[in-house]
Symmetry: C2
Subunit: 336 residues, 2 copies
């Protein structure tokens, strides 16, 4: 019974604090929320919650503020995931419809997500392990340097420069092209990589070089680890905590590796992962939370998307937005 009320108090504190950015006191709390108890009772509960580590006071005789642990409890036990309104759903669908190739889809998602949540959005490019090799093209740049282009069924194109180490004449190029083409064209990328790997072993000289580079390109494509970022302007809303929160984030936004690490473990589709403050893998982001989820065609989580924001954020709304976008993007990928 008391336990239940305590949770209600915690929830109310989180909601108020998120809304006002000010430590919330007992009196204001009973007034704004319909708690049918006196401020004194709430104070006792708050003291207990503070003992258990869910709240802190910035200083004696100020209101309480949730700790990371408090947010954690709030997210785990007190959040009923909002569902998006019909209008919101239409807006999402409208925003994403008509995007054809994966790059376009990602670009639009990142924009959409940052607008919906008013946070910095991060979307990993989908890995497309099921795609097949449509075509391999070799273009001579100089006598000893080729451009190898892989066209994949997903609509993605991978290109690499190959240093041959020895000059090549036109006839050789045609031969090389058909040899490599035969090995790779039409196969799923893992099979193509195997075939090209074998080619790299058995051949020597230019053919081996080209095959080797193509294997690399396919590997990169499979574990495509690029990410798109959007909504950096939302960082302007952080207000204070500039040095503690905004600066590390700004630095990270240009480091693909760091961003990937942030999204990292959120690879389950249909589970929205929330990493709060110091729970995350990166030290400097202790004032930052990540809300992320996996997405991909066929409920097969192939990539992650999410947002990065201050620990003090509207978790229910944000989680709902992240989930909704992930679902729609997955559906669109499905259709292609």
């Amino acid at each position: 019974m008391q336990e239940e009320r305590r949770l209600a108090v915690l929830r109310a504190i989180v909601e108020d604090y998120v809304a006002t950015e000010e430590p919330v006191g007992s009196k204001a709390l009973v007034e704004r929320h319909g708690l049918n108890v006196s401020p004194a009772t709430v104070r006792n509960d708050m003291a207990a919650l503070e003992d258990e580590g869910y709240l802190t006071q910035p200083h004696t005789s100020a209101g309480r503020v949730p700790t990371d642990k408090g947010y954690r409890l709030f997210v785990d036990r007190l959040t009923t995931l909002r569902t998006m309104s019909a209008a919101e759903k239409r807006a999402i669908a409208g925003f994403l419809d008509g995007a054809a190739d994966p790059d376009e889809i990602v670009a639009r998602s990142v924009r959409l997500l940052s607008q919906l949540t008013r946070q910095v959005a991060v979307v990993q490019y989908p890995t497309l392990s099921r795609s097949t090799v449509r075509h391999v093209e070799l273009v001579a740049l100089t006598a000893e340097r080729l451009l190898a282009v892989l066209i994949l069924s997903s609509g993605r194109v991978e290109q690499r420069v190959v240093e041959l180490g020895e000059p090549l004449v036109d006839d050789d190029l045609a031969a090389l092209r058909s040899k490599v083409g035969r090995a790779a064209t039409g196969s799923v990328i893992s099979d193509a990589a195997t075939a090209l790997g074998a080619l790299a072993e058995s051949e020597s000289g230019p053919a081996a070089a080209v095959a080797g580079v193509l294997v690399e390109a396919l590997e990169d494509h499979r574990s495509d680890s690029r990410v798109a970022v959007g909504g950096a302007a939302n960082l302007a809303r952080y207000g204070d905590h500039f040095d503690s929160a905004v600066r590390p984030l700004l630095e990270a936004l240009e480091e693909q590796v760091v961003l990937l690490k942030l999204l990292g473990e959120a690879s389950d589709a249909d589970t929205v992962t929330v990493r709060i403050g110091a729970e995350g893998p990166i030290e400097q982001f202790s004032a930052t939370s990540v809300v992320a989820t996996g997405y991909g065609p066929h409920d097969d989580a192939l990539a992650a998307l999410g947002i990065v924001g201050p620990t003090r954020m509207d978790y229910p709304g944000t989680m709902a937005a992240v989930r909704a976008v992930a679902r729609y993007v997955s559906r669109i990928l499905d259709e292609n």
Copy 2:
């Protein structure tokens, strides 16, 4: 004679203000710089400079601060463009060497430039109007939808999705491929665009659709207007003026169009253009300066690069860095 000293005073004020970020007063000035006159004399000069609009006081009885007009004069008449030290030159060369395709070069330049200047760097992708079409590839995505891929001699690849409006069978695809290929392959992109335009006119149905889309793609490629941005973390150093300067910039960084407008008129190679505060084309950037120049192979200015920073910046150093990077990038493009 007095005129000369006045300019010396202006220069000293700009230098001090840039270094300290604090309004500079007459006494401190004569001490720090070797002006062989008394503070009172300097005060007279300062009053004159203020009358002419080169300086302002934040409030009565504070030091003076340069106005945009003051910076302008400083840049136009008082700046001897620093040359980079041998070590700096080596560093630049080392950083850029080994980049093969244009994307890589741009990525490295943007990074280099932001590190050298500690500002936000903006680099336009080089337009490659002289490149030729190496190959055209058509890939069926669905019965009514094609992916068209253009491989260009520059190493760049353009891809488009084409909606055909009617189903296509395999034989048609092969015919279409060779028809389009014959029209475009091997030509400089402007010729290829003309040939494909003719094709779009004379044919109907799928062939016209494909040709039309390819013409568009070539146009886009010719006036390739993408830009790369880097060093956003340097925005953190703006200190105050957060709302007036950082926020609009953050918003702009995701808008390609705005960035292009910023670089816009700086398309002369070997002339470093400086746009100070409200001189620029964008209203919200009145607290921001742009230092930019053109670059490209063969002294043929094909694209622009530069930095964006607060009006209060080290102009000589920044201009030198921008020029140096532009030169090295041009040279590397030359070699390819």
